[in-house]
């Protein structure tokens, strides 16, 4: 029966200001969620567990776990400390109740602090006296009402272990990125350790050992009971000695095998490490090339953008844009009208002046029709200068004729009709301004297009920036350790080659050694069966049967261990992929395949491959985390007993996106009998009930047992901060 946490209460513990009653969470089987924004008390909650199990808290500044003894003043609620008078005692406690199918247990840890002076600093230990209490444990029969104190320290410890077994605590209590360390796929032993801890596979090891011992002792007992003097027994003894020599060789060979396996593990670790260093160097190169390309693109577009923006005001004056002419339609049409007027009046004035002086003039002002044109005008009886009829023998017609017949032609200077001849001046203006004038109607459109262009460039810049960020993120996962400590590539290669050849040698040695062991074992079996035939008549029958059964059990235990392990690997693979697919099913990207294989050493190798079986590298952080969780869940799932402890996770998927979170909640429920998840990503300060879309979905979901919302009063000073919990499901 799994242990289920029924409630956890805090008293003046960090933000959990005030009595237990105000700070009690009630939980039940299944999924329990505590939603809190940053600073809402998630890590503090988690710290409560660290205190109960390890007498430690996680220092939020240094991210290091520190012993509670020196942290007492810091742990105690600032508001409580602030409000306390001199010599006041403040209680600071964490209490937890959990139950199995028979008992309910209560565990409490705490201390009191006393303010030793007015204006005591809220963090300075010397201003406070601290009194620690011992661990308080009590239990009651589930059917009964009263708790009874448990004083025996051993029992206290057993009860604490019952909540979460010590070797499983790391798999049961995890915080953010710590999850990634639970199973470090780059460390050959990490996965195997998790498998050993979380499954019953080591029971088979244990059984193999004890049955071997029993069989050996049974043989010894039998041989001691064999009579020692007759011929039959002498040849039996000789055979027995022969067998023992072989047995000895087998022991030596087994020792050798162990050292080969040790060498294999060592070198495999080194090869893995160097390989990832090497591969990472290559994959990093791929990323670097992509980054370079994107950065160049970004630079280009940024320059284009800067040019556009910087030269924006030039478009006021540039003849291709002419924005300065915006709204000058009236000026343009006035100008045209005035120009026409001017020309008309001018012509009339000119004509008047000319006719007054018709006899004296032998020269025409500029712009006057030439001889050929005058001839045509006379013939057609029409004046092209003023575009009017000039019927034959009318005054205008005669005037044209007089011009044609004037004396001389163009040899003398033009007579100044006007003091200032400005016709060209105005004409030049009209012509020169034409490129502005022609664009006036299109200026608004041109501005609009410029804005659009700018927007488009900005969007492209954002897109490329996002791309670069993504590439950088992905690339960052490829960096192992400190960049500064990167060893010379050649040195890595040399090390790698050395480790690889040692690994290969170890592998060969293991195979050879295993062959030798197999043949020795085979021969020993033969010896044994021969010995059983050679036993003197007077050998006690029951000893023979005893040995027989013991040997058979030993052999069966050996075979079973291998069979169970092989089955487990294939089941592990199946389960891990099932969990993985479910965990990532709300994510758009397809994930790879998790592959488990037994290596020559008899332990598990893990790989992440694509459909073609090629290793996949550089998966995003979200996928990495999901891989770990899927494998962890798989290990728990293959365990025939399931998991008997609650899961407590603080920010397990911080910032990985709602898809991952949704998948995580669905899958957690299937594996852990109880989970308490502290999470920010369901919080939405804008929403009426402070839950976002997924939060509200989970609120309606039947498989979620409870949801608590932690809130901090708005705009309060640090000394006034306290967490207010609200059960919303």
């Amino acid at each position: 029966m799994a242990s289920i946490i029924n409630q956890i209460s805090f008293q003046n513990f960090f933000n959990y200001y005030g009595s237990f009653e105000n700070n009690t969470y009630e939980f039940s089987k299944g999924v329990n969620i505590v939603v809190a924004d940053n600073g809402g008390g998630k890590s503090k909650f988690f710290n409560g567990f660290l205190w109960l199990f390890y007498d430690e808290i996680l220092d939020s500044d240094t991210k290091l776990r520190k012993n509670i003894k020196n942290q007492a003043v810091k742990i105690c609620s600032d508001k409580a400390k602030y409000e306390a008078a001199v010599n006041d005692l403040i209680e600071c406690n964490v209490a937890l109740e959990f139950s199995d199918n028979r008992f309910r247990y209560r565990i409490c840890k705490g201390f009191r602090i006393k303010k030793s002076k007015a204006n005591a600093s809220l963090i300075d230990n010397s201003d406070w006296q601290v009194f620690f209490k011992g661990l308080e444990v009590s239990k009651k029969d589930i059917a009964l009402l009263e708790f009874h104190e448990v004083y025996d320290e051993d029992e206290q410890r057993r009860i604490l272990d019952k909540l979460i077994q010590p070797n499983l605590r790391e798999y049961s209590l995890f915080q953010g990125e710590e999850i990634d360390k639970l199973i470090d796929f780059n460390q050959a032993d990490s996965l195997n350790r998790a498998v050993k801890t979380l499954t019953d596979i080591n029971k088979y090891d244990e059984l193999e050992k004890i049955t071997k011992y029993v069989a050996e002792r049974a043989e010894k007992d039998l041989n001691e009971s064999v009579a020692s003097n007759d011929a039959a027994s002498q040849s039996y003894r000789r055979k027995l000695d022969e067998k023992n020599v072989r047995k000895n060789s087998l022991d030596i060979e087994s020792e050798r095998l162990k050292s080969y396996e040790h060498s294999y593990t060592e070198n495999k670790n080194e090869v893995d490490k160097l390989e990832s260093l090497n591969e990472n160097a290559e994959s990093r190169k791929v990323f670097d090339d992509k980054l370079k390309e994107q950065n160049a693109k970004l630079k280009e577009i940024k320059e284009e953008y800067d040019r556009l923006v910087e030269k924006l005001n030039e478009r006021f004056f540039d003849g291709n844009f002419a924005w300065i002419a915006m709204g000058c339609e009236n000026e343009v049409s006035n100008f045209k009208e005035k120009l026409n007027n001017y020309r008309e009046i001018r012509t009339i004035k000119k004509v008047a002046v000319l006719s007054e002086n018709s006899n004296q003039i032998n020269l025409l002002p500029p712009d006057s029709p030439d001889t050929v044109t005058l001839q045509t005008m006379i013939e057609r009886e029409h004046c092209y200068v003023c575009n009017r009829d000039a019927k034959k023998d009318t005054e205008p017609w005669k005037h044209i004729l007089s011009l044609l017949n004037r004396k001389g032609s163009g040899q003398n200077k033009t007579v100044d009709i006007f003091k200032n001849d400005l016709n060209d001046f105005f004409g030049e203006i009209q012509l020169g301004a034409q490129s502005y004038v022609g664009r006036i109607g299109a200026i608004q459109n041109s501005i609009h297009r410029t804005r659009e262009k700018e927007q488009e460039l900005l969007e492209r810049i954002t897109k490329i920036k996002d791309k670069i960020k993504g590439l950088r993120d992905d690339r960052s996962h490829l960096i192992i350790g400190d960049e500064d400590n990167m060893i010379d590539v050649r040195q890595i290669m040399a090390q790698y080659k050395g480790a690889l050849s040692r690994l290969q040698k170890a592998e060969e040695d293991i195979i050879k050694s295993k062959n030798r062991i197999e043949s020795l074992t085979e021969n020993i079996r033969k010896d044994e069966s021969e010995l059983s035939r050679m036993r003197p008549q007077d050998t006690p029958k029951e000893y023979e049967i005893h040995l027989d059964i013991s040997t058979d059990i030993r052999n069966a235990a050996q075979r079973t261990k291998l069979r169970v392990f092989d089955n487990m690997i294939s089941k592990l693979e199946e389960e891990a992929n099932k969990h993985f697919r479910n965990l990532i099913k709300y994510n758009e990207l397809a994930g790879g395949i998790l592959k488990f294989e037994k290596n020559p050493r008899g332990t598990i190798d893990f790989n992440y491959v694509d459909e073609a079986g090629n290793e996949v590298g550089g998966a995003s952080e979200g996928f990495q985390r999901m891989k770990v969780l899927a494998v962890l869940m798989a290990i728990i799932s293959v365990n025939p007993y399931g998991y008997l402890y609650p899961l407590l996770a603080d920010a397990p998927l911080s910032a990985f996106g709602q898809g991952f979170i949704k998948g995580f909640f669905e899958e957690t429920e299937k594996v852990f009998p109880q989970s308490i998840i502290l999470i920010k990503d369901l919080y939405d300060s804008e929403s009426e009930n402070k839950l976002n879309k997924l939060g509200n979905e989970l609120l309606k979901n039947v498989s979620v047992s409870t949801i608590y919302l932690n809130q901090i009063p708005k705009n309060s000073k640090q000394v006034e901060v306290y967490t207010k919990l609200k059960k919303i499901k």
Partner: protein
């Protein structure tokens, strides 16, 4: 006087501006590195812009002569290779009634009278430019200028 002589005497003139708006040129033109606001390059661009703003809002402010007014670069130096000067002249001559002359009369004027018209034209430019600069100054002083690339575009668009 020929057309080109007439054009020349106009373009040789350097319009004046009031020192009270001088700082605007520092803030809104004469780009030297990036300022707080969108800027024009050469100073005369802001001047021309202000002139058109003045025209659009119909604000003509007299420049008190004397030490309060500073001479500006001659018109000939204003984007001489672009159609700007022609368009500026187009604008001015379209407003000849307001300035107080008739196109055709110009052709019969004595040089002295013509010079007087040119003086009126320059005053016209100066006073509308001042009107526009004053408008910008008020906006600037009241902190109403947006820190946007489209500052000048928006100002003009709003008035059209």
């Amino acid at each position: 006087m020929t057309s080109s002589e007439f054009r020349e005497i106009i373009l040789k003139k350097a319009p004046k501006y009031s020192v009270s708006v001088e700082y605007l040129f520092e803030k809104l033109a004469n780009k030297q590195g990036k300022g707080e606001f969108s800027q024009f390059g050469p100073l005369y661009e802001l001047y021309v812009f202000a002139f058109y703003v003045g025209l659009k809002i119909g604000s003509r402010i007299e420049l008190v002569s004397g030490s309060n007014a500073k001479k500006f670069v001659d018109i000939a130096g204003w984007k001489s290779a672009s159609p700007l000067i022609d368009f500026l002249l187009l604008t001015i001559f379209s407003r000849s009634d307001e300035i107080g002359f008739d196109w055709n009369d110009l052709e019969d004027m004595e040089e002295k009278d013509l010079t007087d018209v040119v003086r009126k034209i320059i005053t016209f430019i100066e006073e509308y430019a001042y009107g526009g600069l004053d408008y910008l100054k008020n906006k600037f002083d009241r902190g109403e200028l947006d820190n946007s690339q489209y500052l000048f575009v928006d100002i003009l668009s709003d008035l059209v």
